[in-house]
Structure formats: structure tokens, C-alpha cells
């Protein structure tokens, strides 16, 4: 298997892009990634996206985006794995490079959610769940994650204020991210006094609805070294799935797919949690950030809130996490999220993170979740010297 490098990155701001279509966003992010390295021709285009069929009535997105980029002749496909569509698209791109099936792959994650009503977007998100046995009941996607939050607080005696600190730190990190959707500080008090979406989860601890796109260019490491000075290597790219629905699992407070994908990724990279300098976790809901810290080995079960409280996930802390704002504050354009995470890690490893720079960051880890812990991708990136 060939070693894999990321040679170009680009993204749009996350927000309400009423003046841009789905394909415009994908093209904008892709062109930025191509301009980043000066490479405009690729063998493959993989588009990470979840909702284009329902929200835009548009499928066949791989070819649509490739054609918009003038890449007739390339291979192209949409990769869908709910909120892990982006991470899964990067994962599939890595397989193409590692196997030798392609020498250059453009992975672009894109989602456009703000043209829809809140009820339509809520229904689209619930499509991640089993339509006949979960969505059927009338549960929202937030509702299922609310079950996780309640179970977590009960199991470990953790107070809601301690969970609410996670989005507060994400908002702090987003202040200096020009691409972030929500660039304003919040407090634990503000989270707790914001409206309840599904008990016990409040509005300010749930990722919002947004539009955005992020792209990465992948190539074999041996070629990358000839093109750019400092490529970032993908040391591991793994994926794992759990029992499909949350209610089928015995333990609601930990995600087996996080643990399994992490174990495989750390083994492949020959590394452990202690070797990671910067972390991106899928904090679509506050409690998920804490559970990720525990499942990935950065905190003991039920103890992540303590790590957060003592500043452990802030820049300069033990394990700087979601350094550009995470899903909560950078924004969560669903199919793009997993690619944003990779773009942000590359920025850190290149030393291009500006005020958000984690000094001396050499290795980063990204966790992207589809469904409620159903599909989870893991990527470990490393600086190449």
C-alpha cells in the first residue's frame, strides 16, 4: 500500500449562503484546494454529501461537481454516510491513493441546508436514522442525542453545567476563525438559559444549520514530495460501524465505533492518544464532545468534564480540541464537516493556524460521526519532515 499525502486544502465560510447554489459552494472550496497547490487536474472527484437528494432534489452529485470543475474524464461519485459523509469521502479517497487506483483525488464535502425550513432540515437530519423503527416514532435527531445526554449525566453524576462548558470553549476557539459560522463568545449561563430543543439539550449546545464546503487534494506521498515542500501525511484512515440504532445498544454513554476506529487507526499509525497534539471531535451536541474525549483515551469514563473544566481542551492545554470552533461554532454543514476537520488539522500541522496555532503540533486526530454513533471515521495526520 502506498503512503498518502494531503497536498492542497480549501474551504468556504460556513453560514447562510443564500446567493450560492450547492455546486457553487463545492466549486469554490475545490478551487481553493487546487489553487493551494497549483494542481487543477485529478483522477477522481469524491463528493461528501448527505442531503442533496432531499433538500435540492439533486443526486448524481459526483459528476455534477466534477463537470462544474471542467473535469470530464475523471471518475466521480457522491459518498454518503449521514453526518460522516465528509470523513467517509476522505477515507475512500485514501483507499484510492493507497491502492494505486488513482494518483490524485479531490475530496470535497458540501452541504446546503439553509434554503429549507427548520422542519424540513430536521426531517433531513432524521434520515440518518432507521426510518421504519426510529424516525417512525417522531423522534428528531436532537432527541436521540438528548437520550445520550440524559443517560450520560445519570450514569456518571455529571452536572449539566459541566457538559455545557464544551460548546463555550468551541465558541471561544471560533472567534479567530474567519471561516466560522458563529463568531461570538457564549457562557455556560447562556447555554443553560437558551431554549430547550429536546430535554435536556438546549439550543446553544446543539450544532446549528448552515451551508458550506471544504476540500482536500490527496496524492501518494512519494509524488507529493516533488510537488510541495511540506506535505501532510495521512498516517491512518479507518472506519467502523456499530449496531445501527442507539436504542439497540446496551451502553448509551460510549460509542463502540469510536473506540474500534481509534484502536485500528492508532495501531496502523503505531501511535497512541499520548502522541496526538491536536484533536477534532464531532461535537454536534455538547455531550458528544465529552464522550469522544473518553472513547479516544484522553479522559477516563465519566471524567471528561473535569478535563474540560481545567482547560485541558483549550489551545495550550493538554489536548487542544476543535481549535477552529468544532461543529458547534465553526458550523456543521453536514456532509462537509468531516472534510473541514481535515482542512483544520492540516492548517495546524503546517503551522498556518494563526492565533489558533497549537505550538509544535506534529500529529492530529479527527473523529467524524454519522448517525448517533453509528458510522465513525478516524483520521490521524502527521507532519512530514
Amino acid at each position: 500500500m502506498r503512503r498518502i499525502a494531503i497536498i492542497g486544502i480549501g474551504c468556504t465560510k460556513v453560514g447562510e449562503h443564500w446567493d450560492k447554489a450547492l455546486r457553487d459552494l463545492a466549486v469554490e472550496a475545490s478551487l481553493r484546494a487546487m489553487e493551494d497547490v497549483g494542481l487543477y487536474d485529478v483522477d477522481y472527484v469524491l463528493v461528501g454529501n448527505m442531503m442533496s437528494g432531499y433538500l435540492q432534489n439533486q443526486e448524481h452529485l459526483g459528476a455534477l461537481v466534477a463537470d462544474s470543475l471542467g473535469l470530464q474524464g475523471a471518475g466521480a461519485a457522491k459518498i454518503e454516510a449521514a453526518c460522516a459523509s465528509g470523513g467517509m469521502a476522505v477515507h475512500m479517497g485514501c483507499q484510492l491513493i493507497a491502492s494505486g487506483a488513482a494518483d490524485s483525488v479531490l475530496v470535497v464535502g458540501v452541504e446546503k441546508m439553509t434554503d429549507a425550513t427548520t422542519q424540513e432540515a430536521t426531517k433531513a437530519l432524521a434520515m440518518a436514522e432507521d426510518q421504519e423503527y426510529s424516525a417512525y416514532t417522531g423522534t428528531s435527531f436532537v432527541g436521540l442525542n438528548a437520550l445520550v445526554a440524559r443517560a450520560y449525566m445519570r450514569a456518571y453524576g455529571v452536572g449539566h453545567e459541566d457538559i455545557a462548558r464544551f460548546p463555550v470553549i468551541c465558541h471561544k476557539h471560533a472567534l479567530d476563525n474567519e471561516f466560522a459560522q458563529f463568531r461570538f463568545p457564549i457562557t455556560v449561563e447562556a447555554v443553560m438559559s437558551s431554549p430547550i430543543v429536546a430535554d435536556p439539550l438546549h439550543l446553544l449546545e446543539c450544532a446549528g444549520i448552515g451551508d458550506g464546503a471544504a476540500a482536500v487534494l490527496l496524492a501518494p506521498l512519494e509524488d507529493a514530495r516533488k510537488i510541495i515542500d511540506a506535505p501532510v501525511e495521512v498516517l491512518a484512515s479507518t472506519v467502523s460501524i456499530d449496531k445501527f440504532s442507539l436504542h439497540q445498544r446496551d451502553d448509551l454513554t460510549s460509542f463502540k465505533a469510536t473506540r474500534a476506529s481509534a484502536e485500528a487507526a492508532f495501531k496502523k499509525a503505531g501511535l497512541g492518544a499520548e502522541d496526538i497534539d491536536v484533536l477534532e471531535v464531532h461535537d454536534a451536541f455538547s455531550v458528544l464532545g465529552l464522550i469522544a474525549l473518553e472513547d479516544l483515551g484522553f479522559a477516563e469514563r465519566g471524567k471528561a468534564a473535569e478535563l474540560v473544566k481545567e482547560g485541558g481542551i483549550e489551545i495550550g492545554g493538554k489536548i487542544p480540541t476543535n481549535t477552529f470552533g468544532g461543529l458547534k461554532a465553526r458550523g456543521h454543514p453536514v456532509g462537509a464537516t468531516g472534510v473541514y476537520q481535515i482542512v483544520e488539522l492540516v492548517r495546524q500541522l503546517r503551522g498556518e493556524a494563526g492565533k489558533n496555532q497549537v505550538e509544535g503540533a506534529e500529529r492530529g486526530y479527527a473523529q467524524n460521526i454519522g448517525g448517533v454513533g453509528t458510522t465513525i471515521t478516524a483520521h490521524i495526520l502527521g507532519r512530514v519532515d
Binding site: G138, S140, G143, L201
Partner: protein
């Protein structure tokens, strides 16, 4: 939901029809072709009791499209006495009186009426 889909699901919706693995005895709901506990492929249909207890619950205040007229409503995970877990609305209760571990019983209720035929199926209520 389409009419054929609704008819196809009726045994599960009305009778909580699950499946028992003849190899290891595991109960599955919905029924499966392959037991994910032992890998066995010999499973038989089994009606579930509809009696269980509440594992976790939430109150949906911002419903998905199609459920607007019912909000707010309770969604919970119910563990049946057979061991299998089901996601369901919890009805006929004051949400402030819900407690994890409380006993529940199945009830057949209207699920949704989105302008076509009216869908019925399982919900749970305090026993």
C-alpha cells in the same frame, strides 16, 4: 409512508412481531435474517410481550416534518422483559412524572396523519 410499506410493517406495528434465534435464543426487534449475537441464520417469528421499563427519555419540542401537531411529546427507549429495546413515544403520562426504570405497557395509537391514510402503530404508556 407508502401504503405497501405500511401493510408490510403491520405485523411489527400492531403485534410487536420480533424474531428469536434458534441457535442462541436472542430476541430481535425488528426481525432479522442473521443473528448478530451468534451469527446464526435460523430465526423464527416471535410476538413480544409489550411489557417493559423505561431506559431513557426526552421531550421533543421541535418535531420533524409530519409531527408538528403532536409536539411536545415524549420519546423513550423501552426495554421489554424479553431483553430487547424499542424506541417509542411514551403517552398518557405527565412528563414530569416519568422516571427511568418505571414500568410501561404497549398501546396501539395513531402515529401520524400526513394527509393520506392515517397510520397506527405502537406507543407505550405507564403500566
Amino acid at each position: 409512508m407508502s401504503a405497501p410499506n405500511y401493510l408490510r410493517e403491520a405485523p411489527r406495528r400492531y403485534r410487536l412481531e420480533g424474531a428469536r434465534c434458534k441457535g442462541c435464543g436472542a430476541i430481535h426487534f425488528p426481525p432479522k435474517a442473521i443473528c448478530d449475537r451468534c451469527g446464526g441464520r435460523d430465526l423464527e417469528s416471535e410476538g413480544l410481550s409489550g411489557e417493559g421499563e423505561l431506559v431513557a427519555y426526552t421531550i421533543i419540542r421541535h418535531p420533524p416534518k409530519g409531527f408538528e401537531d403532536q409536539a411536545p411529546y415524549v420519546i423513550g427507549i423501552v426495554q421489554l422483559k424479553e431483553g430487547v429495546r424499542i424506541l417509542s413515544q411514551i403517552v398518557d403520562c405527565d412528563p414530569t412524572e416519568l422516571r427511568e426504570g418505571m414500568r410501561l405497557k404497549v398501546a396501539i395509537r395513531r402515529i401520524k396523519n400526513d394527509g393520506g391514510f392515517i397510520e397506527y402503530g405502537y406507543k407505550f404508556r405507564p403500566a
